[in-house]
């Protein structure tokens, strides 16, 4: 370890040098303050510097002060050598940036002990610096992974509304973390029926996202890919669409997550029959769907069930909404009604109803945009505390 001794008195300096060498330090010597300063600001800075308080050129205290100003990050341990041992002087030295002081003529054991303290502090500092660097690297790696995961998750969401004659779809999706616990999808089940769901895993972040991705894998009509929304008929050739209530039951059977990870999820899955204009759905712990008929905006409060993953053997009831031309349905996650403003007030269902009522006759796309804009305004552009999904459709 490189150590500097700056002392104008040759006798004292030689004695310190001798001792430092005996203790295994690499010793640099300076005969005055200016020389000491040159050595200290050099690239290969000594790890410990013993600085005489009173010496020609820059004195020891001033060196401490300048060094700490210039090299804030540098961990060189500065020890003042002083013949003055009055309290106010010690305070001045330490305030200027010295780590320790030793009074002259020094006691050999004391000098050695103080150098060891210095070494201990430096070791600790270097361990901490190392750990901090590792932590920063790990965090950067995690952040990179999360961004990649978010991309994967985004790829599972529909990119654009399906083109189905007579039906208009619109949505808005926003994750509060890199990865989200919310997920949704819209897909054709057959020539006349469309399936759509909105799902919200408890919590958010990685754990929630992993479960939501697993769920999106089974919530597809493709049996070959493990989908549960269709099944083979008794002839093992034809496929039939599984009813929403049964889908909820299947999920509840396959994802008993509460007992495994303490998670659960709410979801709303519905099948829209474009021929009969009926929307048959199951709502498991999920917020009420909004039904808009003309200027009338209503929450469909019937047919509620427990969230999925909490209890065995739940029978899930279905609800049916009969729609007519121009009618709209909006599904969403609790990120919308529970969006909070800086005073911790929630957006709430009243605001939802108010926003939707103030633009009667708007296309569904506008309704979704308005809702999203009002939620953001309400939160005064603070980051969302939960994921937010709004999905709607309209019978044209």
């Amino acid at each position: 370890m490189i150590t500097l001794i700056a002392e104008d008195d040759r006798t004292s300096r030689r004695i310190v040098e001798t001792n430092l060498q005996k203790w295994g330090y690499d010793v640099l010597s300076a005969v005055d303050g200016n020389e000491a300063w040159e050595i200290l600001v050099h690239d290969d800075t000594p790890k410990i510097a013993l600085l005489d308080w009173m010496m020609p050129g820059i004195d020891g205290v001033e060196i401490c002060r300048r060094f700490r100003q210039m090299k804030e990050q540098d961990s060189t341990y500065l020890i003042l050598l002083t013949a003055l041992n009055r309290k106010d002087n010690i305070v001045e030295g330490l305030s200027a940036g010295a780590d320790d002081y030793i009074t002259k003529p020094f006691d050999r054991d004391e000098l050695r002990a103080r150098l060891r303290v210095g070494q201990r502090v430096l070791d600790m500092h270097s361990v901490m610096k190392d750990q901090f660097r590792q932590l920063r690297e790990s965090y950067a790696r995690i952040e990179l992974d999360l961004k990649a995961a978010a991309l994967v998750q985004k790829s599972l969401l529909p990119c654009e509304p399906p083109k189905i004659p007579g039906i208009e779809f619109a949505w808005k999706y926003e994750a509060c973390d890199f990865v989200a616990g919310d997920i949704f999808n819209v897909f054709k089940l057959d020539e006349r029926r469309i399936g759509l769901y909105v799902l919200d895993v408890s919590g958010h972040g990685v754990q929630a996202a992993l479960l939501s991705v697993s769920l999106s894998r089974v919530l597809t009509p493709y049996i070959e890919q493990g989908g549960i929304l269709k099944r083979y008929a008794a002839d093992h050739r034809h496929r039939k669409i599984v009813a929403p209530g049964e889908v909820a039951g299947l999920l509840n059977l396959r994802f008993p997550v509460m007992s495994q990870t303490g998670q659960y999820f709410t979801f709303l899955y519905g099948i829209l029959d474009t021929d009969t204009r009926t929307f048959r759905f199951v709502r498991a712990g999920h917020p009420y769907p909004i039904v808009i008929k003309g200027s009338e905006v209503a929450f469909f409060e019937n047919a509620g069930n427990l969230p999925v993953g909490i209890m065995d053997n739940v029978h899930y009831h279905e609800g049916v909404i009969q729609l007519a031309q121009g009618d709209k349905i909006i599904l969403y996650t609790d990120g919308m009604p529970e969006a909070t403003d800086p005073r911790r007030e929630q957006f709430g269902s009243d605001n939802i109803q108010r926003v939707l009522s103030s633009y009667p006759g708007d296309p569904i796309e506008n309704d979704i945009q308005s809702l999203h804009r009002h939620v953001k305004d309400f939160a005064e552009d603070h980051p969302l505390s939960d994921d937010l999904t709004i999905l709607g459709f309209q019978i044209l």
Binding site: D9, S12, K104
Partner: protein, 163 residues
């Protein structure tokens, strides 16, 4: 208040404090050299230096040489500054002398230098002059004892080399 001692009071510190103030002429007019504590009867305390350099015999011979070489001109500069009544210069030289003497084990010189520092601070030119004379006389003693110690050291080393 002229000075202070931290508690618990160590007998050695107390003795040194008395030495300093007696030497400064502010306590008694008795010659401080007569009034020194028994441990300071020697001008060059070898044991202090040896202890400070871990009994290294080679460095032990080197230090007195350095000290004697540097102290001589310092003493001269000190006297010059005293004649010119240049307090700052005086304080600087005597401060360096004090440090060097203390490191080398010339404890009486250290005490006298400390006393001069204080009397200079008090603008006591007469006292400073008297103490400086004593310092000079003490330096002659130190030189004698250091030379003796080094020649003994040298001869004992020779004895070791030639059995």
């Amino acid at each position: 208040m002229n000075d202070y001692l931290s508690k618990p009071v160590q007998p050695r510190q107390l003795a040194e404090m008395i030495e300093i103030w007696v030497a400064a002429g502010q306590v008694s007019r008795i010659d401080p050299k007569i009034d020194l504590a028994p441990s300071r009867r020697v001008s060059f305390d070898k044991s202090i230096l040896l202890n400070r350099i871990d009994n290294d015999r080679i460095v032990f011979r080197e230090i007195p040489q350095i000290f004697l070489t540097d102290a001589q001109p310092l003493l001269a500069s000190l006297k010059e500054a005293l004649c010119a009544e240049d307090r700052l210069k005086m304080q600087r030289h005597v401060h360096t002398l004090k440090g060097a003497a203390g490191s080398a084990g010339a404890m009486n010189m250290q005490a006298l230098a400390a006393a001069i520092e204080r009397s200079a601070q008090a603008d006591d030119w007469e006292g400073s002059a008297r103490l400086t004379d004593q310092l000079e006389a003490e330096f002659v003693e130190v030189k004698k004892e250091m030379d003796d110690a080094c020649s003994v050291c040298l001869s004992s080393k020779k004895r070791n080399l030639i059995p």
